[in-house]
């Protein structure tokens, strides 16, 4: 074999050096990977490993036609690191100030403030021990100023604005990861129904709260590592769970109807200056609510601006507040007496009596708002709203049956809406606790308290053909693709009266809007039978019924012969502009009529009789 390039001595030295170097590297590796492994792995884990949470997008709340009532958007909290700002970027500051709507002087102050004073250290009162809140050891060398590395510029920058800010390319201006916030494109529309999610992401009220389980989705997360600049090292992503978006919730509320209802409430508030008012519109056949609004109300996008002493405007008075139903309650006594076969619609009662004997005792009959010169039929008792007549119907039924019918109509119990908003069951005492005069006062809606929703669905019993329906507001739960995962349907709570009785009562109620016969001819719509009942109850002020303060209501449905919608208009302490009492027929009925006229066109409700003046002109569609 040929001789090598070096002497034996040199070769051995070289080999030994190489082997020693490898040996050294090996030894170091053994030290790092075996002996010191635990400490180093813990350190690396602490410094480099990170679990990034990816927030799930909250589902949308849609109206009955798929329009957004609530959706989610990402808003950016913009900040600056004043330490890395470049002088050459200074000419761009005015444009940045304009984009984020911050006065330039304020922006300059933020940019030029490089340090902030260190928070004073807390000292114990006993031994004078100094506790550094930041965890650093206290010493004389502790700096009094600290470098600012993030100062907030704007709280809620929109994506499009942020894109323009990024294009400005100002070094040091940046945004932390985005979070989803809730947006309500219609502002005040259906505020009490939709509810809102607060800044902490907690669903506070309404459907937002009830359907939080469906809406919130599930946050995702991923385990990865970050470099020295805290940038994610994507190649070290270990495990990843994608976020799953929340489901959409479709309501039965129709934005167009809801808007109309709120416009009407606004008109009532302007015209009659009541303390509060409520309007409810529902489908007579299913119990689904098409519109529900209260006044005063609030803007869902600015819920935080409602002051502490004005919080009542956030209250869903339609389900949370109680009031005396007044004459609208007369449908209970009339329906019960008809159902029991105690009376016929044409039976007459003397409604001029001051007192009447009942169970061996003489009882005072309530006062009438109108004087009747002749005995009234049962139909007239309803259409003319006779208090004395209603009292006599109640006495025919007697306490037990009157109580049972009122309960069956839903008074004194939850409607089933409490899952959406905490509701009141109303006040309706057991008949064993009634006083001697209650049998004459309860049939006219006194000494009973009910929520507007209870009154509305009590009228719904007549409209639905004798069944008490559960108020429903959520129609569907949908996935991201718009496929229905669950559909809510009509829920019948109980049958209250027979279909025939309901039809008879509906016929009686339709006389209320007939001129010369009923108390609310103002609400008549030519071509349509409006079945409704006015109600005017005195408010209790300082423990006594006040003659100055009233709750006016107009509750009904149409068309009477094939009901499609139920509408309730309830106005608390409305003042007639003419200065008279704010009767239901004056304050509430016109609102009912305007909403009904709108619904006729919007829901294509066909007339039940001839419409005067039509056709104005008609395209015959034929060519002679």
């Amino acid at each position: 074999m040929a001789r090598g390039f070096g002497s034996n001595y040199r070769i051995v030295l070289l080999v030994a050096t190489v082997l020693a170097a490898f040996g050294g590297i090996g030894a170091r590796l053994v030290h790092l990977h075996v002996i010191d492994r635990e400490r180093l792995v813990t350190f690396v884990d602490k410094v480099r490993r990170q679990i990034v949470v990816e927030p799930a997008r909250r589902g949308d709340i849609l109206d009955g036609r798929g329009k957004f009532l609530a959706t989610s958007r990402s808003l950016i909290s913009l900040g600056v690191d004043p330490q890395v700002l470049r002088p050459e970027d200074e000419p761009k500051w005015p444009e940045l100030a304009r984009l984020i709507g911050l006065p330039l002087r304020e922006l300059e102050t933020i940019f030029r403030t490089k340090t902030r004073p260190v928070a004073p250290v807390a000292t114990s009162t006993t031994g004078g021990l100094v506790i550094d809140l930041d965890g650093d050891e206290p010493s004389e060398n502790t700096p009094t100023e600290r470098k600012i590395q993030w100062a907030k510029l704007a709280d809620s920058v929109e994506e499009s604005v942020y894109e323009q800010i990024v294009r400005l390319d100002i070094k040091g201006v940046y945004a932390p990861p985005r979070v989803y916030t809730r947006a309500y494109p219609n502002n005040e529309l259906a505020a009490h129904v939709v509810g809102y999610v607060n800044k902490e992401g907690v669903a506070v009220q309404g459907v937002e709260r009830w359907a939080d389980f469906y809406l919130r989705g599930q946050d995702g997360w991923r385990e990865s590592e970050k470099d020295g600049k805290r940038q994610e090292l994507a190649q070290f992503r270990a495990r990843e769970v994608a976020p799953s978006r929340g489901y959409d919730v479709m309501l039965s509320i129709d934005s167009v109807i809801q808007h109309r209802v709120e416009a009407e409430l606004s008109r009532i508030m302007t015209t009659f200056s009541p303390t509060k008012a409520t309007i409810i519109v529902s489908d007579a056949r299913t119990g689904f609510i098409l519109g529900l609004a209260n006044a005063p109300t609030f803007n869902l996008n600015a819920y935080g601006t409602v002051s502490g002493d004005d919080m009542n405007r956030m209250r869903n008075v339609a389900v949370a507040d109680v009031l005396e139903p007044g004459s609208t309650f007369k449908i209970v006594a009339a329906s019960g007496a008809l159902q029991e076969g105690l009376v016929q619609p044409s039976d007459t009662f003397d409604c001029t009596l001051e007192r009447i004997e009942y169970k061996g005792r003489s009882r005072d009959l309530p006062r009438e708002d109108h004087h009747f010169h002749h005995p009234l039929t049962v139909t007239e008792i309803i259409s003319r709203s006779s208090n004395k007549g209603a009292a006599q119907l109640g006495m025919l039924l007697q306490e037990k049956r009157l109580y049972e019918y009122a309960k069956a109509f839903g008074f004194g119990e939850y409607t089933g809406f409490s899952s959406i908003y905490p509701e009141s069951p109303g006040i309706f005492a057991h008949y064993s606790k009634w006083s001697g005069s209650d049998i004459t006062r309860i049939p006219m809606g006194h000494t009973v308290a009910a929520t507007p929703l209870q009154i509305h669905f009590a009228m719904g019993v007549i409209a639905s053909g004798g069944e008490l329906l559960r108020p429903q507001i959520v129609k569907e739960i949908r996935n991201e693709q718009g496929e229905a995962l669950y559909r809510f349907g009509k829920v019948v709570r109980r049958r209250v009266i027979s279909q025939a009785t309901a039809k008879t009562v509906a016929g009686m109620l339709s006389r209320v809007t007939v001129a010369g016969e009923g108390t609310a001819a103002e609400a008549a719509i030519p071509g349509y039978e409006i079945a409704a009942k006015t109600g005017t109850s005195q408010k209790i002020v300082d423990g006594k019924y006040s003659s100055q303060h009233h709750i006016a209501s107009f509750v009904g449905f149409f068309p009477a012969s094939r009901p499609e919608v139920v509408i309730s208009v309830i106005v608390d302490d409305g003042r007639s502009p003419a200065g008279g009492t704010g009767y239901g027929g004056v304050v509430a009925a016109p609102g009912f009529k305007r909403i009904a006229e709108h619904l006729i066109q919007y829901l294509d409700i066909k007339p039940t009789g001839p419409v005067p003046g039509r056709p104005l002109f008609a395209l015959e569609g034929v060519r002679p």
């Binding site: 329009k67 958007r73 499009s160 994507a234 569609g621 002679p624």
Partner: protein, 135 residues
């Protein structure tokens, strides 16, 4: 063992060592290159994800803007601002058809298809106002 055998063995060992170093180096460099490529791919995937998320965010914002512009409050305001004078119809303006509109239109279409008259010969549409009929 003689001296030349020793040399040969050492030379061979040296050569093998160098080959091993080169091989290990190549494997090491290959691994580094591969890791770099993984990193580049992962970063580009991350950027793509970020762009998709950005697009989704922009889409969501646009959707909200569209929804806000479509809200009835805004439409009503536009109606008055632009003096469009749009009003909902009232019942007296509506002509309701008794039968099925599809059948009615089909009958009309059939009548037109099987008649010899041309469009120019057709009479104007009939307007009926109350009991009087005007042409």
């Amino acid at each position: 063992m003689n001296k030349s055998d020793n040399h040969a063995f050492v030379n061979q060992l040296l050569v093998y060592t160098l080959v091993m170093i080169c091989l290990s180096g190549s494997i090491g460099l290959g691994t580094v290159w591969m890791r770099h490529q993984i990193s580049v791919t992962a970063n580009s995937t991350r950027q793509m994800e970020s762009r998709i998320a950005q697009a989704e965010r922009s889409l969501a914002e646009t959707t909200i803007q569209v929804a806000a512009e479509e809200s009835l409050e805004v439409l009503t305001r536009r109606n008055s601002e632009w003096k469009l004078g749009l009003l909902p119809p009232v019942e007296s303006q509506v002509g309701r058809l008794a039968g099925s509109p599809e059948r009615r239109l089909a009958a009309l279409r059939n009548r037109e298809a099987f008649t010899d008259r041309t469009g120019a010969e057709t009479a104007p549409v009939v307007f009926a106002s109350g009991s009087r009929v005007r042409r």
